[in-house]
Structure formats: structure tokens, C-alpha cells
Amino acid sequence: MKGTFQRKYLGIPYALYLLVFVILPLVVIVSYAFTDSNGKPGIGNLLNFFTDPNTLGTLVYSLVLAFVTTLICLLIAYPVGYLLAMSSIRSKGAILMLMIMPMWINFTLRITALKELLTMFEGNLAFHPFMNSVIGMTYDFLPFMILPIYNQISRIDKSLLEAAADLGADPTQAFIRVMLPLSMPGVISGISMVFLPAMTNYVVLDMLYNSTYIMGSLIGSYFSAYDWHGGSMISLILLIMICLFTLLAGKDESQGNVRGGSVL
């Protein structure tokens, strides 16, 4: 019967949300990015970004900071996720909860606490701004790396490892040829959840006394100088980078066949 409720109507609230809070702002950003302060269209803002050694330096600084943070998160999170998923201890849930518990508390509070802790260990924080920023970001983002890796590994069919052993693989070989490829989708989704936010999470830097701008604070400084055009362009460039990254990562994830198809 026509006019009755259809299931697809359930999508309407979200479609509205999408329109008002995602599509519309995006249109505004794009229109600001490609105009100058007199409203004349052009790519002046784009050229400014790629010719100014300060903005380029900020991009490199943010990328390096995010890269180091991601690497350290990965080095800590993978063993934890692996051990937790493979072990047969009964208190697994409790340990996992300990890992994600910090996520329930607002991160500015957590960083404030971290600041006091670090001051206790290091004394004056201002001498190692980069290191402190990495510690702060790692502290902030670690759960986002552990969870997807743990989930992925615990979904792997353990009989695949037994099969590898049956076929003569020693534990190292089994790990490299079976475990690692199968856990990759978790690793990749963990990376995308850490790397991208780490490029813009300037509050951590502010609170831990790193006075160097990263992408997030750079955009903020443009806005507080009333230069919405330059700020929008930087946001747009960041957005495009994020899109490229998710495009690359997302493809892998969709093919992540937990049942072992890709090991064969």
C-alpha cells in the first residue's frame, strides 16, 4: 500500500543531520577556500599554503609528530592486543576494561593529570616539548589502537595456526605468514584512528607547553586573525589528505577476510 511507513524512512533523521552538519559546512569551507577576502574566486590561498615555508613546515611537523605517535602506539598496542587475544586467562574482560577505561574520562582531564605526572618525573616540561607531545598523544590514543587490533586477532580462527604448524611452520614462520597478514585490517584501522587525529590534536600540545603550531592550531590562528579564507583552505587540504588516507586504508579493510582467504 502506498503512503505507509517504509523502512528507509528511518534514515531521514540521519540524512538531515548529514545535510546540516556535514554537507552544508563543507560547501561553506570550499567556497571560503577558493575566494579571497574581497570575495573574488581564485586559488591564491592554495598557492600561499604551498609556498610559505611556515605552513609547509607545520605540515611536515604535524606529519612527523603523527607518524612517531602512531609508531609508538603500534609498538605498544600490537603485543598487548596479541597477548590478550591469544591468552586463555579468565580475567580477559577486566584487563580489557582497564585498557579502555581512560576513554570514559574527558581527555583534557586526563592530560591535566598527565602533566602533573610528567612534571614529577622530568621536572621542567618545557625542555622536551616534542617528546612530551608524543607521550601525551600516545596516552590519549593508545586505546584506539589496542581495541581494533585485539578485536581482529580474537576473530582469527585459531585452527589456521594449528594448520600452519601441521604443515611444518615453526612459531615464527606461522606468526609472520599467518598471524600478521590476518591481523593487518585491525592494524590499519588502528592506524587511521590514531594518525589522523594526531595531526590536529593541538589541545594536547597546548596543555603540555609545546608552543609550536600543528595543523589544528594553525587553522585556529587563521580564524582568530579573521582570515577565514586561508583557514578554510588549510582545512580543505587536511580533509583531502584524510580522504586519500581512508581510501587507501578502507580498501584493505573491506578485503580483510578473517577466515583466512588471503593466507591460503
Binding site: 528507509k8 524512512y9 531521514i12 540524512a15 538531515l16 545535510l19 615555508p53 611556515n54 605552513t55 609547509l56 613546515g57 607545520t58 611536515v60 611537523y61 612527523v64 607518524f67 612534571t119 621542567n124 616540561l125 618545557a126 625542555f127 597478514p181 593487518m184 597546548d206 596543555m207 607547553y209 609545546n210 608552543s211 609550536t212 603550531y213 592550531s217 594553525l218 590562528s221 580564524f223 582568530s224 586573525a225 579573521y226 582570515d227 587507501l248 584493505d252 578485503q255 582467504g261 588471503s262 591460503l264
Partner: protein, 518 residues
């Protein structure tokens, strides 16, 4: 699909035609006034019993928020019901962006340079003539404002429009250094050059705000000139000082860049709000600070049983004001809105209410009192005066603020009625910060708003200070970055290829032979 779009569209149309609900729909003759003020910049009441300020002229106590009390006061005196829709902003720039992006307010309280910007853009409504009528007993502002403030507002203009026509001063102060006297000598902290003093390496904070940092920088790089006797004794000293401290020429901005880059490597951080707490917990020793926040931090330190002092560098200081202005966008032609806004300013200017604000937020009110009560000077006396048996006391003259004059033969002199006897330490503590003496305001300059060209130049300078310059990466750095990129890319490519290989593998299976049961 079409139907969905139609539904979507109708919902959007429906939403956009619903009129916004008025604050109190039931009572239509309530006038709503939208006020936007700095965060924590008004007495919001709820004081403890023991917080009563017991002055000779009566007790002062904050029970409910001043903006709520105003509603009843206005009804009693003007016979009209108003509702104050009170909201807050965090920085002048934030307020400006809010106004530009379409938020509507009737009355806001930005700083002097933002007032000048709004005035230059013709967005302010001038006060009515009645606002300046000293005969009207409800005009607390004009009857009680300090002559020091009043004359400053009467003598500063932008494009020929004098401030006092458009703005009523709310709070004011200077900028200086909050410091820990046990570790920092008074001499070191009496110059802006302490920011590059290596003795305090990584133990000072600057403001994360280009205007305050730029002012401090100008004070440091122009120090020799500003301190020279020739300059000090020039009959046009104040004009010349104002000119020097508003210098935005390319050469000066260049010099400021060099200084700030040096300072950035020497200070602990650029802070917005954490400076006070870091002073109290002892993380830093010197903190560039506004006088009102310094008062707050010194009070906090006292509670923790140690001492923080305030110093204003010898070169000069930044005299700043926050003032109430009415916006064209909000008020329009509405005479009754304008009357209510002006009454709101007057209500806050009643001396007892000014005391409540000062007690609550720590900043200094523009109100001196006198005509409608002596609560202000009584409050200062109540807070800071020495006990009778105290030995180490000094006389502290506040005449310039209460009944002095900026101009004429007795400029800077008061009648001598406003001299307090205070403990000696108060000459560098809360009293000094809250009511700086005449010699401090004498070496102060107002920092005006910069035109868009100068603004762009200074902001670019600030970005240079704060950003990591790509030129600073050395050869080894580039090699490391290149290596990282190569590793990441080759890992991605390897995974891709492997996947492809896996997909391309052809498995030749023998067809299953299932033995059929006979």
C-alpha cells in the same frame, strides 16, 4: 527516491518556517535583552555567609546573579518587565566572529581595541542624551565613574568618534609580570627584557595572543628609547609613548619577530589560561599577566601560604579597558531596548554592585563612587588597609582615580582625601595590581586596533614565530623523512602485490569423486 527527496525537502521547509520560541512565550510584554560578556566577569551570587563585606555604610552580599537582580530593579524603577538573556565569550576575536557570523546581541563588553574596530565599522549605537544626565538619580554610571576613566574615554577617538559616546567602561587594568619574589629579583622583573633573560630560561610564560606578546616585545626592543631622559621629559611624552607602542612599521615588526623567536626558545610556554595555576603550583616563576588575573593568582597563592608579587616594567605598560557597547544589529531603532541596555549599565555601576563585581572577579571597576555612596573606597580600605598596630606601613595615594584630573595644572593630583595607609608589601601585591599608583598609569599607553594591512603583517609575524619553519630541517632530517616515506610506501605496495598474487593463484583441484552407494 523522489519521495525521499520530497519528504526531506518538506521537513527542511517546515523547520525553517517555525519561528524561534520566545524566552517566555506566555508573557508577551517582557522585553528580552541579549547580553554577552566575558566568562566569569560578573557577580553570579551564591556567596557563603562569611563572605559578607561589612563596610561602614552597610553590608554588601551577593545572593543571586546581578543580571537576575536587574530584572526586578528595572521593573521597580521603569515599570517594565525585562528578561536578560546572558551569555559569554572567551576572546575578543571569538566575539567578533560570532557577531559577523550572525549571532545577535544588544549589549556586549569587549576590550578597547575591539570597541574601536566595531566603531570604525559603524556597528555601534551611541548612548542617548539622557545617559549623560547627571541630574537623573538612576544614572549611576555618569554620576560615579572615575574621573580618570571618564577623561580617558572623552579624549580617545577613532575616525573622529569619541569613545565615551559609544562605550561605558566596565573594568580596566594594566599588564605586568606576576612573579615569585623568592626566586626572581625585583630588578630583573622590572623590564620587558626579562623574556630573553637566560637566568630564567624555561621558567617564564608569555601570552598566547599576538597583541599582548607584541606589546611586551615593543617595550623590550624600544627599551633604550623609552627609558631615556629626553623621551621621558618630552612635553609630548604621552603622545610619543602612544605612538611608539602602536608602531606597526615593517622594520619594527621584523625586529619583533627576531625578539619573539628568541623569547620563544627562552620561555616555558605561550599560555592562555594555565599561567595562573602554574604560578601557584610553582611550575613557572614569571608570568606575563593582566592585573585582575594577577590579583586572583596572588589570592590563591596566599591560601597556599606563599607569596607572589606583581611588577609593572619600567619601560611602559599597556592600559586596557573593557567597556559596554550597544550593537546596531541587536537594538535597531528600538528606544525601549536602548533604555533597558543603558539601565543595565547603570545598575552595574551602582557602587555597591561594583564592589560585588570586584570582590567576585578580582578585576578593577571603572566606578569610583562618591555621588551615590563611598562603598568603593571603603571596600579598598576594608581589603587592604594596615591594622592599627602594624609597623611597616606606607601611604598610598589613589587621588588620581577618585577625584583627580588628567589635564590642566593639577593633572594627576587628587585632593589628598584618598590616601590609604597600607602595609608596605601591598605596594607590590594585590593593591598595586588592582589600583596601580599614578606613576604606573603615567607610563601606560593604550594599544589601538590595527588596520587590516598592519593586522595582516603582525599576524604573519606571529605565524612565523609559532610555526616550524621548513628551512630548519637539516640534511639528516630530510633523509629520515625520506626513509620513512619509502618504508611506508613499499610496505603498502608489498601488501597490494601480495594480495594480487594471492588472488591470481589458480588452484587446480582434482574433481571430487564421490563414490555412489550401490
Amino acid at each position: 527516491m523522489k519521495k525521499i527527496i520530497a519528504v526531506l525537502f518538506s521537513v527542511i521547509v517546515f523547520i525553517s518556517v517555525i519561528p524561534p520560541l520566545p524566552a517566555s512565550a506566555a508573557n508577551e510584554d517582557v522585553l528580552t535583552i541579549r547580553v554577552c560578556n566575558w566568562e566569569e566577569y560578573i557577580d553570579e551570587g551564591g556567596w557563603d555567609e562569611e563572605e559578607v563585606i561589612d563596610l561602614e555604610s552597610g553590608d554588601i552580599f551577593g545572593e543571586t546573579a546581578l543580571y537576575e537582580e536587574f530584572e526586578d530593579w528595572y521593573y521597580e524603577n521603569y515599570g517594565q518587565r525585562v528578561h536578560i538573556e546572558y551569555s559569554c565569550f572567551g576572546t575578543n576575536e571569538e566575539l567578533y566572529n560570532m557577531l559577523t557570523l550572525g549571532d545577535e546581541f544588544d549589549l556586549v563588553a569587549p576590550s578597547e581595541y575591539m570597541i574601536m574596530k566595531l566603531l570604525a565599522e559603524d556597528r555601534l549605537v551611541p548612548f542617548s542624551d539622557d545617559f549623560f544626565d547627571e541630574e537623573n538619580e538612576l544614572n549611576y554610571y555618569i554620576r560615579n565613574v572615575s574621573p580618570f576613566i571618564r577623561e580617558t574615554f572623552e579624549s580617545n577617538e577613532i575616525n573622529g568618534e569619541y569613545w565615551n559616546r559609544y562605550a561605558a567602561c566596565y573594568m580596566w587594568g594594566v599588564v605586568g609580570f606576576l612573579y615569585n619574589p623568592e626566586a626572581v629579583s625585583e630588578e630583573d622583573v622590572s623590564t620587558w627584557n626579562i623574556l630573553v633573560n637566560e637566568d630564567y630560561r624555561r621558567q617564564m610564560t608569555l601570552k598566547d595572543n599576538v597583541r599582548d606578546s607584541y606589546f611586551a616585545t615593543l617595550g623590550a626592543i624600544k627599551g633604550d628609547l623609552l627609558l631615556s631622559d629626553d623621551f621621558r621629559n618630552d612635553p609630548d611624552y604621552h603622545e610619543r609613548l602612544a605612538e611608539e607602542m602602536n608602531d606597526t612599521s615593517p622594520e619594527t615588526v621584523e625586529g619583533a619577530l627576531t625578539f619573539l623567536q628568541q623569547a620563544k626558545d627562552n620561555v616555558y610556554s605561550f599560555e592562555t589560561d594555565s599561567g595562573k595555576a602554574d604560578m601557584v603550583t610553582g611550575k613557572v616563576l614569571v608570568n606575563l599577566q593582566w592585573s585582575g588575573d594577577a590579583v586572583y593568582a596572588m589570592d590563591q597563592a596566599e591560601e597556599e601560604d606563599f607569596e607572589l608579587d606583581f611588577s609593572v616594567p619600567e619601560e611602559c605598560t599597556n592600559l586596557w579597558f573593557d567597556g559596554w557597547v550597544m550593537l546596531k544589529d541587536g537594538i535597531g531603532d528600538s528606544a525601549e531596548k536602548q533604555r533597558a541596555c543603558e539601565a543595565f549599565i547603570n545598575f552595574l555601576s551602582r557602587p555597591d554592585n561594583a564592589v560585588r563585581n570586584m570582590y567576585y572577579i578580582g578585576y578593577t571597576s571603572s566606578i569610583a563612587g562618591g555621588t551615590d555612596g563611598d562603598q568603593i573606597i571603603e571596600y579598598i580600605d576594608w581589603t587592604y588597609s594596615a591594622e592599627e598596630d602594624e609597623e611597616d606601613t606606607v601611604e598610598y595615594d589613589l587621588g588620581y582615580f577618585f577625584d583627580g584630573s588628567l589635564y590642566g595644572e593639577d593633572a594627576g593630583e587628587g585632593s589628598g582625601e584618598y590616601i590609604l595607609t597600607v602595609p608596605e608589601e601591598q605596594t607590590r601585591r594585590q593593591l598595586f595590581a588592582q589600583y596601580p599608583p599614578r606613576e604606573v598609569t603615567d607610563r601606560s599607553a593604550i594599544m589601538r586596533y590595527f588596520d587590516s594591512e598592519a593586522n595582516a603583517r603582525i599576524n604573519q609575524m606571529w605565524i612565523c614565530v609559532r610555526c616550524y619553519n621548513i628551512g630548519k630541517i637539516n640534511a639528516a632530517g630530510w633523509v629520515a623523512i625520506a626513509l620513512a616515506i619509502v618504508i611506508v610506501i613499499s610496505a603498502a605496495v608489498y601488501m597490494r602485490l601480495k594480495e594480487k598474487r594471492v588472488k591470481d593463484v589458480k588452484v587446480n583441484r582434482r574433481p571430487l569423486r564421490i563414490r555412489q552407494p550401490r
